[in-house]
């Protein structure tokens, strides 16, 4: 009796181990397929890219350090005082670039925030409205800033206004998506409480949802600020003003010292904003988690 039971158990065990092996084999197969696909796309992509490039990889490899060395040599000629003078000269442009980013982020915070409430499934009962708003969000987000900036520069002329509109448009879409995800995770008990005492939809959002989500909103916005400083620097290249426009000019003229000073200013300000926003975010989120 006991032997028959052991036999049955053994066959059951064999079945299980067979099934496990089957799953393991399929997993290995999928992993291998994924790795193969990845390797193939990297190699194929690099091959196509190398063919399409005007210079080749191997030709460029030993030239890679030429440009940085050239820039450093230009900077060395200027001397420390000359470099500092350049720094002061370009400071107003840096302020403009940072201002473009800040204004766009603030505008997008309000507009994207408003959009996100209408695009959250749990806050709006009309699924059609939510669907339409989500598509609007997707289109806003898909627009690369440079496309809008290029069009607006033709109409408004070069200057920060085109850049602000371009960056704001993209940021509204990006922030609204993140905000609506935060909204959808919020606790609806407060909303129900306000509805039960006769609060309108706006009251429910203002007093029921906003206090819960605001710290996360601000945190995402701060993260976006850093991204936008980079974006507004790039937009300068297509004539939207700020430090990017100056960088394009000195790159075209090949002024080594000026290029290096501008790169330094950009990198320093991006790193500073990155650090600052990280510190602020930790304070914001940390505060709420204590309550």
């Amino acid at each position: 009796m006991a032997a028959r039971l052991a036999l049955a158990e053994a066959s059951r065990l064999a079945e299980i181990s067979q099934a496990y092996e089957c799953v393991a084999r399929r997993r290995t197969l999928y992993t291998a397929a994924l790795l193969g696909l990845g390797t193939l796309s990297i190699l194929g992509g690099l091959y196509v890219a190398d063919e399409a490039n005007s210079g080749s990889f191997w030709g460029g490899l030993d030239k890679f350090f030429d440009y940085p060395i050239e820039l450093l040599a230009g900077a060395y000629e200027k001397g420390l005082v000359g470099l500092f003078r350049l720094f002061l000269e370009y400071l107003p442009y840096l302020v403009e670039t940072v201002n473009i980013a800040l204004v766009s982020t603030v505008l997008a915070f309000f507009l994207g925030g408003a959009l996100s409430f209408v695009a959250s499934r749990n806050l709006v009962s009309n699924p059609l409205l939510v669907g339409v708003m989500r598509r609007v969000m997707d289109v806003f987000r898909a627009f690369p800033e440079i496309v809008i900036a290029l069009l607006l520069v033709l109409i408004f002329g070069s200057g920060p206004v085109a850049a602000v509109i371009a960056v704001t448009t993209h940021t509204i879409g990006a922030l609204a998506k993140q905000f609506s995800e935060v909204n959808e995770n919020c606790d609806l008990k407060a909303v129900e409480g306000i509805r039960s005492v006769g609060g309108t939809w706006l009251d429910q959002m203002r007093f029921g949802v906003l206090p819960q989500v605001l710290p996360n909103f601000l945190s995402y916005t701060l993260l976006r600020l850093e991204v936008n400083v980079r974006a507004s620097a790039i937009l300068g290249f297509v004539g939207a003003g700020g430090l990017g426009a100056e960088l394009k000019m000195v790159v075209d003229w090949n002024y080594g010292a000026d290029i290096l000073v501008i790169i330094f200013m950009l990198v320093a300000s991006i790193s500073f904003i990155d650090y600052l926003s990280g510190w602020l975010r930790q304070k914001l989120i940390g505060q709420t988690s204590q309550i």
Binding site: N53, G59, D66, A142, P144, I146, L154, V161, L266, S271
Partner: protein
Amino acid sequence: MADIRVSRAALLNEERRLDDLYPGVISQDLKKRLLGPVFAALVVLYLVVCFFAFDVLGVVDKARGDMAQLFALDSYAHKVHAKYQFKRDEQGFVVSLEGNRRAIYKVPPEWIGHSKSQTIISLGGDGKVQFEGGLVTYFHPDYQQPFVFKVGEGAPQFLSGAEVDWLKVSGSQVNARPSLYSRIWMTKSKVEVQRYFTGWENFWFDFDSKLNGLSVGALWSLVFASERLHPEMSNLRYMFHELWTNNEWQHGEVYFALLQTLIMAVVGTLIAGILALPLAFVAAANVNPVKWVRTGMRRLFDFLRGVDMLIWSLIFIRAFGLGPLSGIFAIFFTDTGTFGKLFSEAIENADKKQAEGVQATGASSIQKYRFGLFPQILPLFISQMLYYLESNTRSATVIGALGAGGIGLKLIETMRTRQDWENTLYLIILIIAVVMLMDQLSGWLRRKLIKGNA
């Protein structure tokens, strides 16, 4: 009366009791209450200052609304020119697409009527233009009296007709724009009538192609026809060839450029992820005990991330030349920094218990990380790479426009001509479609891979 007083006292009591129970909720201190309004006021003040600093009013005032209108019109409509040159009067009116000398209609369209001595050009809702013996007469449906001009001897002269603001007569030329869709332009050497039609012209086949203007049915029957249009190709292949090599819309080149942009994004992201993974282990405090190596690695990540993609692409374009290879390098340099930071933080936040459990079975240190730690960070690894794949598609377009090639460069090229707005619109639609597609794809994969694993 007494009743109310009692309940009021009770209310006050209740309020006091609640205030004691939850201090600082009912009556917040002034600093806390003012924080919100003051902050909001500061933000509004900042926006107002920037409004004037950026001179928004001046910029809007100087905005070229007329240009925007023309660009917009040109992006969805095409223009047909009918041009009469006095020096070559034997040719009569030459009808061409967008005034292009290589796109001249051999058979004039039916809205241009010819007889022996006169030509009548219909402008649809804007009336018609009659040209006869040195006189141009324009009949506008809103005006009883026709507009008459004398042309051919020196500068054109305005003989009779109402004074209207869409008609500009100067010493050397007459420029009439009765609506956005038509224009009559006369100088001392020519009379030119332009009319817009909605739609993209020659989108499928070239102006000169044998297939141009054929209907879908006609094309379909051509596929099965025994007679070959081109001796060396079957009809279907010929059609595809004609479509692919369309000179004006450059479908072949556009889709190759799109492929280049996608390659930049995909390859750049993949390489960055693969490089960042081992480096992240080096930078994680719970894996690597050597502090100076860890700090060095972190500073390297910060450097790669801090030097913007824009600057990396400038440096690589200088080294490798214009093209997608430089774009790949710019993307993977920047993103190695980003991924390295994210992954190393994830490794540090990973749960120690699994790794210890694996170690307890006698695993080597590589096995410990492979089976104890790696499965914990794999979902984050995949989801971050997919997130960045989508955003890098957009970045690849942007650095492409700066010189790294691909669809971004194509877009800049068509915009520079300031004439091919229909191509510009087409490219913008393509870019947005691809970015949205990548967004959907990465979201779908993320849900599939991460939730499927859990």
